[in-house]
C-alpha cells in the first residue's frame, strides 16, 4: 500500500514540475523564464534517491514533457536519459558524493549537456529548415548563461539551507582530519 502511495506521490510531483515549467516559468519575464526546474528536480533526485528511481523519474519527466511539446516525440526523454547517465557517471567517478561543490559541478555539467544534446536534436530535426545552427547564435549563449546562473544559484541556496539543518551534505573532501 505504501509503495503505491509513494508511486502516486512521485507521479503528482512529476506533473507539478512539468506544469510549473511549461506554463508558469515559461511565461515569466525573459531572465526568469530561463529557470529549468525539470533539470533541477532531476539533479536533486540524483542526490537523494537511488539510481533506478531516478531513471524512472527521468522517464516520467521526459514522456510528460514530450506529450506537451511540439518537437519530435522522444527528444526530451532521450535527452533526460542521457543527462542522467552522464551525471551518474560523473557522480560515481569524479565528484565526492553529497558535497555542495559536487552538486554545483554536477549542475554545471548537467545544464551544459542537457542543452547541447536537446538543441543538437532540435537542429538535426530541423536540418532542412532555415533555422540557424544554435551554437553560432548569441541568444543561445545568453540564454544558457542565464540558465546556468539560475540553476547554480538555486542549487547553492538549497544546499546552504540544507546544511543548516543536516550534516549529511557537508563537503567530505575538505575534511583533512
Amino acid at each position: 500500500m505504501k509503495k503505491y502511495f509513494i508511486a502516486l506521490l512521485y507521479i503528482g510531483l512529476l506533473f507539478l514540475v512539468v506544469f510549473l515549467q511549461l506554463s508558469l516559468i515559461n511565461s515569466w519575464p525573459y531572465a526568469f523564464s530561463r529557470i529549468n526546474i525539470i533539470l533541477l528536480a532531476l539533479i536533486l533526485f540524483l542526490f537523494f534517491l537511488d539510481f533506478k528511481t531516478v531513471i524512472l523519474l527521468a522517464l516520467g519527466l521526459g514522456l510528460l514533457t514530450d506529450i506537451f511539446s511540439w518537437q519530435l516525440f522522444g527528444f526530451y526523454t532521450l535527452t533526460l536519459f542521457l543527462v542522467v547517465f552522464l551525471a551518474d557517471f560523473l557522480l560515481a567517478n569524479w565528484f565526492t558524493n553529497r558535497s555542495t561543490y559536487s552538486f554545483l559541478a554536477l549542475t554545471f555539467f548537467a545544464t551544459l549537456s542537457y542543452n547541447f544534446i536537446l538543441y543538437g536534436l532540435f537542429y538535426l530535426s530541423n536540418f532542412l529548415s532555415d533555422r540557424g545552427f544554435f551554437l553560432w547564435q548569441a541568444n543561445f549563449w545568453a540564454g544558457l548563461g542565464w540558465e546556468l546562473v539560475w540553476n547554480l544559484g538555486i542549487i547553492f541556496l538549497f544546499f546552504w539551507v540544507m546544511n543548516l539543518t543536516t550534516t549529511r551534505l557537508k563537503p567530505v573532501f575538505l575534511d583533512k582530519r
Binding site: F15, F19, L20, L22, S23, L24, I25, N26, S27, W28, P29, Y30, S33, R34, F51, K52, I55, L56, L59, G62, L63, L64, D66, I67, F68, W70, F73, G74, T77, F81, F85, D88, F89, A92, N93, N115, Y119, F122, S129, D130, R131, F134, Q137, N139, F140, G143, L144, E147
Partner: protein
C-alpha cells in the same frame, strides 16, 4: 564502467523505447489526449498567473525610465498631435477602402475564441517565446495557416501546427512567421512580413519606386489562402531606402502587446 551502470537498467530503457514507438503508431494517442485535456485548465491558470506577473514586471521596468522621458515627450507632444491627426485621416481612408473592397466586417467574420495555455521558451529565442500554444485544435476546424487576432482585431500571428485539442501559433515577431501584407499607401504596396529579432516586424524586398511614409498602416493583403484581407498588423516605423540598394526595407511596429495575450481569436475560412 559506464556500461556496467547502464546494464542493470536496460529494461527501463527498452520500456522507454517501446513507449516512444507506441506513440508513433498512435496507440498512446487516447492517453495523451486525455492528459492534455485534463491539464489544460491548470495550464490556463498558471499561464495567466505568469503572464500577469510579466506584464507588471515590464510595466515597472518602464516606469523607471518614465521620468527621464517625460521632458522629451512634452517636446514631442506638438509633433504627435499633428501625427495623430494624420493617422486619423489614414484610419478614415482605411475604413473607406475596407467598405469599397467589401472587406469582412468583424461581425461577419467567422472566428473561434481560444485561450493561451503556454508559451514555447527556447534558449535561442530573444525576448518573447515567439510561439504560443492555444487550447483549440483540429476538432474545432483549425488548420495550419489560419490567422490569429486579438480582441481588437489586430493580427497576433499565424497557426503553425494543429493537434486535436491544441494548436501552436507563431507570433508576428518570430523570424519564421511570414505573412502576405499590403501597406495602405497610395499604391497599396504588397510584401511579405517576417519577424525581426523577436522585437519588431520587417517587410523586405519592397521596390525603391514605392513611396512609403512613416505611420502608414500595414494590413493583410488577402493573397494568402484562408486569410482575409484588411486585418491590421501595425504601422510603418522606419524606412531604410539607401539609393544604392535595389530594395528598401521597411520596419513595422506591431500594434499588439505580446505580453498581454490571454485570449485570442482564430479567423476561420
Amino acid at each position: 564502467m559506464f556500461k556496467n551502470r547502464i546494464k542493470p537498467h536496460i529494461k527501463i530503457i527498452v520500456v522507454a523505447g517501446l513507449l516512444i514507438f507506441l506513440h508513433f503508431i498512435g496507440v498512446l494517442s487516447p492517453l495523451e489526449r486525455l492528459t492534455v485535456k485534463v491539464s489544460q485548465p491548470i495550464f490556463n491558470k498558471l499561464y495567466s498567473l505568469g503572464s500577469d506577473w510579466r506584464k507588471d514586471y515590464n510595466q515597472k521596468n518602464s516606469q523607471v525610465d518614465l521620468n527621464a522621458k517625460v521632458n522629451d515627450l512634452e517636446n514631442e507632444l506638438g509633433t504627435l498631435v499633428v501625427a495623430n491627426a494624420r493617422l486619423k485621416d489614414l484610419e478614415n481612408e482605411n475604413q473607406k477602402l475596407r467598405e469599397y473592397l467589401n472587406f469582412f466586417s468583424q461581425q461577419q467574420m467567422n472566428y473561434i475564441l481560444a485561450k493561451v495555455t503556454s508559451q514555447e521558451n527556447f534558449l535561442d529565442s530573444v525576448k518573447y517565446g515567439q510561439n504560443i500554444i492555444i487550447n483549440q485544435g483540429s476538432v474545432n476546424n483549425l488548420i495550419p495557416g489560419l490567422v490569429v487576432i486579438n480582441g481588437q482585431g489586430v493580427v497576433v500571428g499565424k497557426v503553425l501546427e494543429v493537434k486535436e485539442n491544441s494548436a501552436r501559433v507563431c507570433l508576428l515577431i518570430n523570424n519564421s512567421c511570414k505573412l502576405a501584407v499590403s501597406i495602405l499607401n497610395q499604391n497599396r504596396t504588397i510584401g511579405v512580413t517576417e519577424g525581426n529579432l523577436g522585437l519588431t516586424v520587417k517587410i523586405n524586398f519592397v521596390g525603391q519606386t514605392e513611396k512609403i511614409n512613416q505611420g502608414d498602416i500595414v494590413v493583410t493583403s488577402g493573397l494568402e489562402k484562408d486569410i482575409p484581407a484588411g486585418l491590421v498588423l501595425g504601422r510603418v516605423s522606419q524606412i531604410n531606402n539607401n539609393e544604392n540598394d535595389v530594395w528598401q526595407n521597411i520596419n513595422v511596429e506591431p500594434l499588439v502587446n505580446f505580453d498581454n495575450l490571454g485570449i485570442v481569436s482564430v479567423v476561420l475560412p
